[in-house]
Amino acid sequence: MKVSLFIPCLTDQFFPDSGMRMLRVLERLGHEVSYDPRQTCCGQPAFNTGYHHEAETLARKFLDIFDRDGAEYIVAPSGSCVTMVAQFYGRMLELPAPYAEAADRVRGRVREFTSFLVDVLGVTDVGAHFAERVTVHDSCHALRELRIKRQPRALLERVEGLELVEMDAAEVCCGFGGTFAVKYADVSAAMAEEKVDSIIRSGATVVTGVDSSCLMQIDGMLRRRGSSVRTLHIAEILGSIS
């Protein structure tokens, strides 16, 4: 199957490993994976803060690139950025005529990575090996906009050597929330603290999830606390082979 990579700006600049590991997993499953290096950002930071005009500029760029990529699916290592494209483009973010139609076409093809593996490909065993005790943080956009919850767990359960443990507050927001993390930084940090408390209580050595943004927030608080718990994007775990 022809698969086109949608690498969000944060992944590109700060978390390249999660993108590369996603690429490797897809290649290992035998797919023809393409990446258009013209892509930058889907516009979510602007949209989320209410700057629709600015967001539209980036949405148009995105659609210009992906509407004609010739791939069956567009796959991203992020539930949040997929939500932006699949749920908000052409709906809450109004787009002019040709782009509104392009948004409708792209909407049907864009998938978050774990959902693509499980729901589209029907794959749960990707042949990974990762011998750690892992807990999953449910990212809000993935959980509530895309209803992604069992997919990452189904994949992790099949990873050799991995012990999956649930934290008590898996579905509670980590406090990132885009510009919220800076606009209401104290509240955001207080939310991260509670998230980190829950992670530590779970006894996990690694916390994972489908969004690097949430993991960046969680990791920021774990490091500040001096915790030994590591954060890894799920693609990094699924891309680990012994």
């Binding site: 390249p16 516009g43 803060t49 209410g50 700057y51 980036l58 809000c140 509530r144 930084a185 490091r223």
Partner: protein
């Protein structure tokens, strides 16, 4: 030196949060109260395996009523009038307060007992009645507590949720001159004894309304303490205040909403008292007031109704579940928002009631996690309504100029791939200069509380290019 507290107003949201976010006692009170509510709710929501479809039906019923608001309002007015009530319409908070004070103060009436009403809070009714010369007593225990403390409510259904029982014990001992106790039963007994006298001497009872039934002109009021029933039956005059969005078509739909409201609000299958009031006391009845006045308030609701993008906010049945589940509310409490209606629903409707300039900070005080929309018994997509407000506020250039500049720059850069890649390379070269002691980058505001990751040596694009050039 007396410390003057920050006024609980929406434009003070930043300061109000700063004063609360590091208060461990408040955090503990909020965590305990909201967790208890959520656990109790979950236990009774589990009664139904079709809870989701109940929400959907309730959503559609309220949409239908709003789509035909004029018809239902006319029908309600007709039926309530036929039952002997007097229906008044008030344009804004001031109108409503004036109207109610006039009715209350007629014939030298002096004492008013008030049962809990968020609409009453919205129009600041208690203070208006006091200014009009009426001694006004809050009879809901939570409202009574915050009246003693001279504070506004901090929650839609549990006004004193931010206080522990120890704090309430202190307050009672100070204000009522009783011996300190933090035993809820003892405190309730004390309040009950004081309030019983007030009920007996009151001339006027003021209440809110949970649902107004159009087919019969009936008011439905739910509560747990019996104070609303006493307030609406003992005094000679009952004044009920409501927004027009409280309308329901008939009794059949009411049953669905009662099932949703009690469970969502307090985790009860049904509240202890459900009063159905159709007109004042009739000739053949023993109990009830001589006069029933129903004040129907607009106060921006008609504007909300006409606003296709936001009108869903009028579906709200004021259960407070979105507050309980909101991780922001759990950290700052109702007073942190500076608005009478706090939490997600408050941040959606306060810009209407208080103006979007004064309330401009509220729609941004959310991580948009969407837990509110998932728990809402009438399925209002609250986090999407917050996004709508953000677009209106930022679209009108009401954001800070620094924020606008950052957004503008980011988008200019991200719109051109070459510039974006260059910015990334600059970040990699000069990033190390911004290294902080914790090994991350020094990023304004963020780094005060969390480590910010240092950029990796190569971007994804660089890794991918290297990979492409690798001989296969």
């Amino acid at each position: 030196m007396t410390h003057r507290p920050t006024p609980i107003e929406p434009e003070n949201i930043g300061r109000l949060i700063a004063e609360r976010i590091h208060d461990p006692r408040l955090r503990g009170n909020l965590a305990r109260a909201t967790t208890t509510s959520l656990v109790k709710r979950a236990a009774v929501v589990a009664d139904y395996d079709d809870w989701e479809s109940m929400r959907a039906v309730a959503h559609d019923i309220k949409r239908h009523v709003l789509d035909h608001a004029d018809d239902y309002l006319a029908r309600f007015e007709r039926q309530a009038t036929a039952a002997g009530a007097t229906v008044h319409f008030a344009g804004d908070a001031e109108d409503a307060s004036r109207l109610i004070c006039e009715i209350a103060a007629r014939h030298g009436r002096r004492v008013a007992v008030k049962s809990k009403s968020m609409t009453g809070e919205e129009i600041d009714l208690t203070h208006a009645l006091e200014r009009a010369g009426l001694e006004t007593i809050e009879t809901d225990l939570g409202e009574y507590i915050i009246q003693l403390a001279e504070e506004p409510p901090s929650h839609i259904t549990a006004p004193a949720l931010h206080k522990s029982r120890g704090e309430i014990g202190q307050l009672f001992s100070e204000k009522l001159g009783i011996e300190y106790s933090d035993d809820p039963e003892r405190l309730t007994e004390v309040a009950r004894a004081v309030l019983r006298e007030d009920f007996l001497r009151a001339d006027v009872g003021v209440s809110g309304v949970n649902f107004a039934i159009a087919e019969s002109g009936t008011l439905c009021i739910v509560e747990n303490e019996g104070n609303a029933r006493l307030s609406t039956t003992l005094p000679r005059v009952h004044i009920a205040v409501m927004g027009f969005e409280k309308l329901l078509p008939d009794f059949e739909t009411l049953s669905l909403f009662l099932n949703l409201l009690g469970r969502s609000a307090t985790g009860q299958r049904l509240t202890c008292y459900t009063s159905l009031i159709t007109g004042p006391r009739r000739a053949d009845e023993h109990d009830g007031p001589d006069e029933l006045h129903i004040v129907i308030l607009d106060n921006g609701r008609a504007r909300l109704l006409a606003d296709a993008a936001l009108r869903e906010a009028l579906l709200c049945i004021r259960c407070g579940a979105c507050l309980n589940v909101c991780p922001v509310y759990q950290k700052i409490g109702g007073h942190g928002y500076g608005s009478i209606y706090p939490g997600p629903i408050g941040s959606v409707i306060t810009p209407i009631f208080r103006g979007e300039t004064r309330a401009a900070g509220l729609p941004f005080a959310s991580s948009l996690c969407g837990a509110c929309a998932d728990i809402c018994p009438v399925h209002i997509d609250l986090h999407h309504l917050l996004l709508t407000w953000r677009a209106r506020i930022s679209g009108k250039r009401k954001g800070k100029w620094t924020e606008r500049l950052i957004m503008w720059t980011f988008v200019r850069v991200a719109a051109r791939t070459a510039l974006f890649d260059l910015a990334g390379r600059l970040l990699r070269v000069f990033g190390p200069l911004l290294r902080s002691r914790d090994g991350g980058l020094r990023v304004p505001i963020w780094s005060d509380t969390r480590t910010f990751p240092a950029p990796p040596p190569r971007s994804f694009k660089q890794c991918w290019r290297a990979d492409q050039e690798r001989p296969s």
